[in-house]
């Protein structure tokens, strides 16, 4: 039965949220311009209006989640983004798989931030919340789903399936509800995808806060005061965005088979760019707080980071990227709306900046080379150039679109080798930034001239050169550019550590945020250099085959074919593929598929044999077991060194009816490197096409060959009962016992032959791993021989790629240290703000 209540509730909440956002904006405007007498009333009204908006927004989210959680497949959103087989935590990912859900997430975070701001600010509440309410109105309009004539405003997540699709079934039965949904994109069925999007969207949402303070400051002519409350938020935003980026990179590393954590994909770039600009903005804001310079550049950077977040949203969600990105969303017809949203705030910001530009205080004095202002300004400029270098080529599809609007034809495509293209600039920029952090920090904490600077830097310089020498020798870094990276990275770490220890000794840990974050940067630089620069494919040219055309021999084959049970050398390891497995609820480890037979029900199988793990029987033969995400196959690959067993990796692949085959890596983590492996091709596990019949006449005790397998016919045995068949009086049933050796594995195949009256029945024995089907075709008593009919298919196999990524843990450790640095800095700046606020000096 179709439940229309939840959808109607959700849609009503959307409209309420939209209207209340507009009302809030209006009310806060009145609050700002009202006389002192009326202010209290307007504030109360504005707040109530925002509370209504908050309740409505939360209702939208709850209604959508209820639709997914209760498997209401009569709704398009639940049908196309979830399925019954999903556990609850993946239902949460289903929520934001679609664009509408992502917008709801964004709306939700803005509501949370808005509520916090209302209660932590006094003076700034009015102007800041006015900006917030306007942003909310734009965001809610994206999910409004209102059609006026030909104009479609927003795409509602609450539409029914029958309204979204024109399937003939709905003409026969309008109340038709599908049994199951089409499921969640398998790539998103990962724990990181449960927490990565909320983090990223919180990052997106927080860029609004400094922007709102700035707009408020410009509108109320408080050109300098906005910086203090905005600064901790800008730092928080940079931290959350950074965390979101890192989680995304980590997700890509553990889930996608791109072979790495960063691919310079447009979607990744679109978040990286606003983050860089936000970082630059933080630095100029800190400078301003200390010495009243760089106010104008702070303003431009704060506007830039917010607008770039909107631009990123536009790039990813408008469909303009088309083929150039793996994970851009399909066009929901929102591009126009997104463009208006972005341009509106861009124009408002430009208007306010231009109007007030002359009145914004600047310092006339030019910064000296021996001043921190100078170096921080250079650093911020470098960050901005880094951002520019990334956003320009990422926008190539946009340039093409613009040229086409004006009637031109542009066939420009993104660079063929994206990684090489971006790295060539970003690496050197990063080196420059790293060096600047070291110098900048020294200037920051000490007033100095050229001589004292040289004295202060000598020690860190000598230490880092020595340290680099050690790293270069031990890590065998002989490439000149990588040597420079190592030098820059260690210099950053050493110089900032020097500052860090001095600060902790002299004053408090509270001031150490900057140097900690910079140490993290130095570690990231070194970690990236090793793990990317020295990442090595070890599943190289192992086939031993020669090709018909000779040029192909010269190509490097980066994958290795592993036949089941066959030991294959991969660099220092011997790898053996041991079969396909499933994850079974309640059983530790994984269970081989040959022990399971799936039933018609979702995620349910019957145990064909006892399921034993670690000496304990978890399920007995014939019992029903629950498979966790039955589409997921795990390929067991054992690694040996010589005869010594080392470890097992289980790279995963998932067959999904809508996405086809998806492969996820499995890595062995060592302290100084990762062995990263994934399957790049697998056998076809559908019904095999058996090759032509082969016949063998064999006497008991004899040995023969099926394909290459040594097969021993141990003998026949008369059966008195057979599973699944009732034997009757006078029936004769015989099974033949065959033992097939494949390398070190013995397989037992027992085909059965039944005679009932003049009828003959044959039950073949099949081994899918070996690709062998044996039928006991006849028994020839006079010759004491059994006649076997054998059909073959190919043995099970996987094609594997294995990559060693050295020192990747330095990268992860660096990111964590950087995040801690951010937290310390946020604490310090928020503490400053709240003290001033309580003194009434906000």
């Amino acid at each position: 039965m179709i439940n229309t209540f939840v959808g109607n509730l959700g849609h009503f909440a959307v409209i309420l949220a939209f209207v209340s956002a507009l009302v809030t904006a209006y009310a806060y405007y009145q609050y700002i311009v009202a006389s002192e007498l009326d202010k209290a009333n307007w504030r109360l009204f504005s707040r109530i209006s925002f509370y209504v908006h908050s309740v409505a927004s939360v209702t939208i989210a709850l209604a959508l989640f209820e639709i997914i959680y209760s498997h209401r497949f009569e709704y398009f959103y639940a049908y196309s983004h979830s399925s019954k087989a999903l556990p609850v935590h993946y239902m949460i990912s289903s929520f934001w798989e679609g664009q509408e859900g992502a917008f709801i997430l964004w709306i939700f975070w803005n509501v949370v931030l808005g509520l916090i701001l209302i209660h932590t600010n006094k003076f700034w509440e009015g102007p800041v919340m006015l900006v917030f309410a306007l942003v909310q109105a734009f965001l809610v309009s994206m999910i409004l789903g209102v059609v006026i004539g030909d104009l479609k405003i927003g795409s509602s997540p609450f539409i029914l399936l029958r309204d979204a699709l024109t399937a003939p079934i709905f003409q026969i039965n309008p109340d038709f509800v599908p049994e199951d949904g089409t499921g969640l994109n398998p790539l998103l069925q990962n724990i990181w995808m449960v927490i990565h999007p909320p983090t990223l969207f919180l990052g997106y949402a927080t860029t609004l806060v400094p922007f709102a303070f700035l707009m408020g400051g410009l509108a109320t002519k408080k050109y300098t005061e906005w910086v203090r409350p905005a600064l901790p938020w800008a730092q928080f935003s940079a931290m959350i965005l950074g965390m979101g980026i890192i989680m995304g990179a980590y997700w890509a590393y553990v889930t996608l088979n791109f072979g790495g954590y960063w691919n310079w994909d447009p979607v990744e770039n679109a978040v990286y760019v606003p983050w860089l600009i936000m970082i630059a903005g933080i630095h100029t804001m800190i400078t301003f707080r200390k010495s009243s310079t760089a106010l104008k550049s702070s303003m431009v950077l704060v506007v830039g980071s917010f607008i770039l977040v909107l631009y990123a949203t536009f790039l990813v969600r408008s469909g303009v990227l088309g083929d150039s990105s793996v994970h851009s969303f399909t066009d929901l017809g929102l591009s126009g709306q997104l463009l208006i949203y972005m341009l509106f705030f861009l124009l408002v910001a430009i208007f306010l900046l231009a109007k007030n530009w002359k009145n914004i205080p600047t310092s006339d004095q030019e910064a000296s080379v021996y001043s921190r202002e100078f170096w921080i300004f250079i650093g911020a400029t470098t960050l901005a150039l880094m951002a520019f270098q990334v956003i320009l080529p990422t926008s190539i599809p946009v340039w093409n679109a613009i040229v086409e609007i004006f009637g031109g034809i542009s066939n420009m495509a993104p660079p063929a080798d994206q990684v090489g293209f971006y790295t060539k600039f970003q690496l050197w920029f990063a080196v420059a930034v790293a060096l600047l952090t070291a110098v900048g920090q020294f200037f920051w904490w000490n007033k100095m001239d050229g001589k004292t600077l040289r004295e202060a830097l000598v020690m860190p310089y000598v230490v880092s050169v020595l340290l680099s020498a050690v790293i270069i020798v031990l890590g065998k870094v002989y490439n000149i550019s990588y040597i420079v990276v190592v030098l820059a990275g260690t210099f950053t770490i050493v110089a900032n550590s020097t500052i860090l220890f001095r600060l902790i000794k002299k004053s408090t840990f509270k001031l150490a945020g900057g140097s900690l974050a910079h140490i993290g940067l130095g570690m990231i630089l070194i970690g990236v250099m090793f793990s990317s620069g020295y990442s090595e494919v070890i599943s190289y040219n192992l086939s031993g085959l020669t090709y018909s055309n000779s040029w192909e021999d010269e190509l490097n084959k980066e994958h290795v074919l592993l036949w089941i049970n066959k030991p294959t050398q991969i660099k220092e390891y011997t790898a053996i593929y041991r079969g396909r497995q499933k994850k079974v609820k309640g059983v530790p480890g994984l269970v081989n598929v040959s022990l399971l037979k799936s039933t018609d029900n979702v995620n349910e199988s019957i145990a064909l044999e006892d399921i034993v793990a670690k000496g304990k029987t978890y399920y007995e033969k014939g019992e029903i077991v629950t498979v966790i995400l039955e589409e997921n196959d795990y390929f067991q690959i054992d690694y040996y060194k010589g005869d010594q067993y080392q470890f097992t990796l289980n790279p995963m692949s998932q067959f999904n009816s809508s996405m086809g085959l998806i492969s996820s890596p499995d890595s062995r983590r060592f302290l100084n490197r990762d062995l990263y492996t994934f399957v790049s091709a697998i056998n076809d596990y559908e019904d095999p096409e058996w090759r032509e019949d082969e016949y063998f006449e064999v006497a008991p005790g004899e040995t023969f060959f099926i394909s290459d397998f040594v097969t021993e016919f141990e003998g026949g045995e008369v059966l008195t009962q057979i599973d699944g068949i009732d034997l009757m009086e006078g029936d004769v049933a015989v099974k033949a016992k065959l033992s097939i050796m494949d390398y070190d594995v013995e397989k037992r195949l027992e085909p059965i032959f039944i005679i009932r009256g003049s009828q003959v029945g044959r039950i073949p024995a099949i081994d899918n791993e070996l690709g062998v089907k044996v039928e006991l075709d006849n028994i020839i008593p006079e010759k004491n021989q059994f006649l076997f009919k054998v059909n073959r298919y190919q043995k099970d196999y996987v094609v594997l790629k294995a990559i060693v990524k050295p020192q990747i843990n330095i990268l992860w450790a660096g990111t964590i240290i950087m995040l801690i640095g951010f937290c310390v800095a946020i604490y310090r700046r928020y503490d400053e703000f709240s003290k001033m606020r309580d003194k009434g000096l906000e």
């Binding site: 030019e366 320009l392 080798d417 085959l545 190509l555 809508s658 996405m659 790049s680």
Partner: protein, 138 residues
Amino acid sequence: MKKGHIIGLGIIAIAILIIVSMIGDASTYESFETAKAMKMKGDDKSIHVVGELKKTVSGIVEGIEVNPDKTSFYFMMVDNNGTEQKVFYNEPVPPDFARAEQVVVIGSYKNEALFVADKILMKCPSKYQENEVSTAGM
């Protein structure tokens, strides 16, 4: 000249360098015909070609030849102008390759007869455009 001006000039110089390098490194969308002409002129630059896999009249993909070690393969592609071309890809067959509605190959001609792809992008049938609902639930 003031320091500010020097810095300003430096920034402009780097920005110009970035733009020039982007234009220089940007690839282009070509057809097989124009791509072949480029190769003949000695231009080995990697380009993009958009097209479809070759299909029989009944819509079945034909012409995929997987090498015995399964780590590379050949296939037949038809670009948007209808030109047929044999393409080599030094990677295992991507999952779902045969179902791709559209393929973009990034690479260049090896010789007059063979195009070598360094990278393949595929557009698979999106589930959002699905027009048929399984009627199993009836």
